[in-house]
């Protein structure tokens, strides 16, 4: 219960921010927070709180699995640092690159394979798997 107390501000914020399917569980001295954020801003806000409670995420006592809710057809912006985003044949960096989505361009989400890999389509019609970290749902 000590961990729930430590991260109370975080779990309360998750509750009030409307996290979908929010689950807070403590197991073997690690607190697990799971759910889906309604917007990317909500996810970022929770991570800011996490970073404030545990600077630089050093304690290793929290796993916060929060994805941004986005269904098929959602538009997402390519938020790479500056480069174009690889579109691959399958979900994995070992998969061949079949196209590129331009930095800051908008793509359409077709489906989510998992939290890391999304099947997308560019406006130019290129289709394949891209790394979700670099896609921000609009």
């Amino acid at each position: 219960m000590a961990l729930q107390e430590k991260y109370k501000q975080l779990t309360e914020a998750a509750g009030t921010a409307g996290i979908i399917n929010l689950q807070v569980r403590e197991q073997s001295n690690v607190l697990y927070i799971d759910g889906e954020a309604p917007t990317p801003a909500v996810k970022d806000k929770l991570w800011d709180i996490y970073n404030r409670i545990d600077p630089d995420f050093r304690s290793g006592d929290l796993v916060m699995n929060i994805n941004v809710a986005a269904g098929a057809g959602t538009k997402a912006k390519v938020t790479t640092d500056s480069s174009n985003l690889n579109i691959r044949k399958g979900p994995g960096t070992d998969q061949p690159i079949v196209g590129k989505a331009a930095h800051n361009s908008i793509v359409t989400l077709l489906s989510k394979t998992n939290g890391q890999w999304w099947l997308i389509k560019t406006d130019e019609g290129e289709e394949g798997y891209a790394y979700a970290e670099y896609l921000t749902p609009e």
Partner: protein, 161 residues
């Protein structure tokens, strides 16, 4: 004589009326039930019984706050002298945390660290250990992704530049 009879019967009627003036238990029961409808945190049906103004409530509540609220609501019903709170708090069945296999984690970690060349990562029994170095503005992004891989724990030993 006649007047005395009339007066006596009047007295009798009024005494019956006065004695029976407080709300009946059945009415109190209905009032309590009505009040409890305001508590939407009940997880099961609520039963109420009233004897001589003492209301006994039982049912299943989501948490302690819900249980206390039930009692307060019952007390606020007209005619209730006291409340016996037999409500129970529902025991939550929590599914255990699902941890990904080391193979799945290793693949996910490899993908996640691909664009962070200074970061080294190892996976052992669900625990992801990070060593090497990273720029501070990149740390959150990497951690966000690693946290979605369903690890048991992330041991962050990165040197932050």
């Amino acid at each position: 004589m006649k007047i005395t009879k009339i007066l006596f019967s009047l007295l009798l009627i009024s005494s019956v009326f006065i004695i029976g003036c407080g709300p009946k238990d059945a009415d109190i029961k209905a009032a309590v039930e009505e009040k409890l409808k305001a508590n939407t945190d009940m997880t099961g049906p609520m039963t109420v019984s009233v004897t001589d103004g003492v209301a006994t409530i039982s049912g299943e509540c989501k948490d302690d706050a819900c249980r206390a609220k039930c009692e307060d609501l019952a007390k606020s019903a007209k005619g209730v002298k006291s409340v016996v709170n037999n409500c129970v708090v529902a025991v939550k069945t929590v599914a255990p945390v699902e941890v990904a296999s080391d193979d799945a984690l290793a693949t996910g970690v490899m993908d996640a660290t691909k664009d962070h060349p200074g970061v080294k990562a190892s996976v052992n029994d669900g625990v992801v250990t990070l060593t090497g170095e990273i720029k501070r503005d990149q740390l959150s992004k990497l951690m966000m992704t690693l946290n979605t891989l369903k690890p048991k724990k992330i041991d962050n030993q990165l040197i932050i530049k």
